[in-house]
């Protein structure tokens, strides 16, 4: 049978964000898949160099529309490390609470998106309806639904009043009932099982080799979570379990995300009841001394990394961001090979892709029209030569 190559994207009705997928099919089976990223590169890292640390808080928040808080947490942690500031316990707890609320809303969003991709829009509508509970809570707590502007260098910007704490506990009870429903549906509903079981199977060895992160990695049976492996904020004090699945497929990801949401609900409840007293922020200087720091957090989608270099002024020298989707896109390309063409949207949606977060840099050699594989040393040489020649080849 003849092979046909179908370009999907960068602009395509099925894609929410512009990325290019070149899919070669033979009959109904995908024989080769190529993912080209970079279509939504926004130059955020370069822009960060021209803004002050306070302005950068709001810039890093806009890297992603869903996991905005994890990026500001990362940036604040990196800056606090260079400044040598310790955030008060209450501030750390409040930060962790919002981080977990964000995970709840992101996972509920994913359940909806997954439902939509598998043609099960009822699930999409209902899960987004229940997501409003956590969205309202975030709005009461922080002042906004999406880009919360809650984090600041040295703590958080608002305190949690006893009334809000009561509301949070009530919302968690409601959400727990709702989540039990979604777990029940995920394990029993035929539509979900038929569309997700055995789709996008990634073995633990492949998951390690292809640097999978977050729920994709844990769905492949590897017990790795930055919150446990390298505890930041208050994660070393909050009791929780790392959820894994042994099915290694998209259904495993559904189960991991649903159970993780339940864990997050328990964590929020524990933190609200055991919230320490005292200050929630400290005053920090505007100028940051010379130094560099590395911070990582567990975003809802996986491990998120910020690397910050300060040069003694009120603006950073360099900010490097590695969003979780960038680490996960390699295993998507791998999983697409051999899949049924109807399963392509499910595999791509499985990692909860956020292309806007991911696109940091792209190198295209349009003149040569060749593809070469270079190792790390080759890349170093290329970079050094490029700079030595003043930005010319």
């Amino acid at each position: 049978m003849a092979e046909v190559t179908i370009p999907i994207g960068p602009i395509h009705p099925a894609l929410k964000e512009p990325e290019r997928f070149m899919i070669t099919i033979e009959g109904e089976t995908v024989v080769a898949a190529d993912v080209r990223i970079g279509h939504i590169h926004r130059g955020i890292e370069k822009l960060a160099e021209s803004k002050t640390y306070i302005q950068n808080l709001y810039l890093t928040e806009r890297i992603c529309g869903i996991c905005s808080f994890t990026h500001t947490t990362n940036f604040s942690q990196a800056t606090e490390e260079i400044l040598g500031i310790e955030v008060p316990k209450r501030g750390v707890y409040l930060r962790t609470i919002v981080n977990e609320l964000e995970r709840i809303h992101s996972h509920l969003l994913w359940i909806g998106v997954a439902g939509h991709e598998m043609g099960f829009d009822t699930l999409f509508m209902y899960s987004w309806d229940d997501r409003e509970i956590v969205q309202d809570l975030l709005e009461i707590m922080t002042g906004n639904r999406v880009n919360y502007a809650y984090n600041t260098i040295g703590g958080v910007r608002r305190d949690m009043s006893p009334e809000i704490a009561q509301k949070a506990l009530k919302a968690m009870d409601k959400l727990e009932v709702a989540m039990q429903k979604y777990i029940d549906i995920g394990l029993n509903e035929d539509t979900i099982l038929k569309r997700t079981q055995g789709v996008g199977v990634l073995s633990p060895a492949d998951a390690r080799r292809l640097t999978a992160v977050g729920p994709r990695l844990r769905a492949s049976g590897i017990k790795y979570d930055v919150r446990k492996a390298d505890p930041h904020a208050a994660y070393d004090e909050v009791p929780f379990e790392v959820i894994t699945s042994d099915t290694h497929d998209v259904h495993g990801q559904y189960v991991v995300r649903a159970l993780e949401t339940l864990e997050s609900i328990k964590m929020v409840r524990w933190m609200v009841t055991n919230l320490p007293d005292g200050d929630y922020r400290v005053k920090t200087p505007r100028k940051v001394p010379e130094g560099e720091s590395f911070s990582r957090t567990e975003a809802p989608r996986g491990e998120d990394i910020h690397w910050l270099v300060a040069n003694g002024t009120d603006k950073p020298e360099r900010l490097k961001i590695r969003a979780p989707t960038y680490a996960n896109i390699a295993n998507v390309a791998f999983n697409l090979k051999g899949a049924h063409i109807a399963d392509v949207p499910m595999i791509v949606a499985g990692i909860d892709p956020c292309m806007g977060c991911m696109d940091r840099v792209i190198i295209i050699d349009a003149d040569k029209k060749t593809q070469t594989v270079t190792d790390e040393a080759g890349l170093w040489k290329f970079a050094n030569d490029w700079y030595a020649n003043g930005g010319k080849k």
């Binding site: 709001y58 009822t122 002042g143 509903e189």
Partner: protein, 118 residues
């Protein structure tokens, strides 16, 4: 045991539930307490230090050449709500509490200049 239509009880349960959305603008939701919306600026408190303009992440707040009522040598800030992201950093940075964020969230206007808070 997997079966189709597992969600039917849930579907029936939702029949008695009210819709989540409301018919805006005929019906309005009550804004939450401490929501960040339209900026209210008090010129009589402003000392023209310019910290708000320096900290604004989106360039919505800028200093203009209008003599400050308190200190004639200094400038006054303007707030262009077309560019504002309503983060409230200016409110937080202001040393004299001259900037406040109100709960007025309906900011649609016919002319661009109407959205500048002076």
């Amino acid at each position: 045991m997997a079966r189709a239509g597992y969600m039917i009880p849930m579907l029936l349960g939702k029949l008695t539930k009210k819709p989540v959305t409301v018919m805006y603008p005929y019906e309005k939701l009550e804004p939450f307490k401490d929501i960040r919306a339209k900026i209210k600026f008090d010129t009589n408190l402003c000392i023209g230090c310019g910290i708000c303009a320096r900290d604004c992440p989106s360039g919505a707040c800028y200093m203009v050449d209008i003599p400050n009522p308190v200190d004639k040598k200094k400038k006054t800030p303007h707030f262009d709500l077309d560019m504002c992201t309503f983060c409230g950093q200016c409110d937080e940075s202001c040393p004299k509490d001259a900037i406040k964020l109100t709960d007025e969230y309906e900011l649609a206007h016919f002319k661009r200049g109407e959205l500048i808070v002076k």
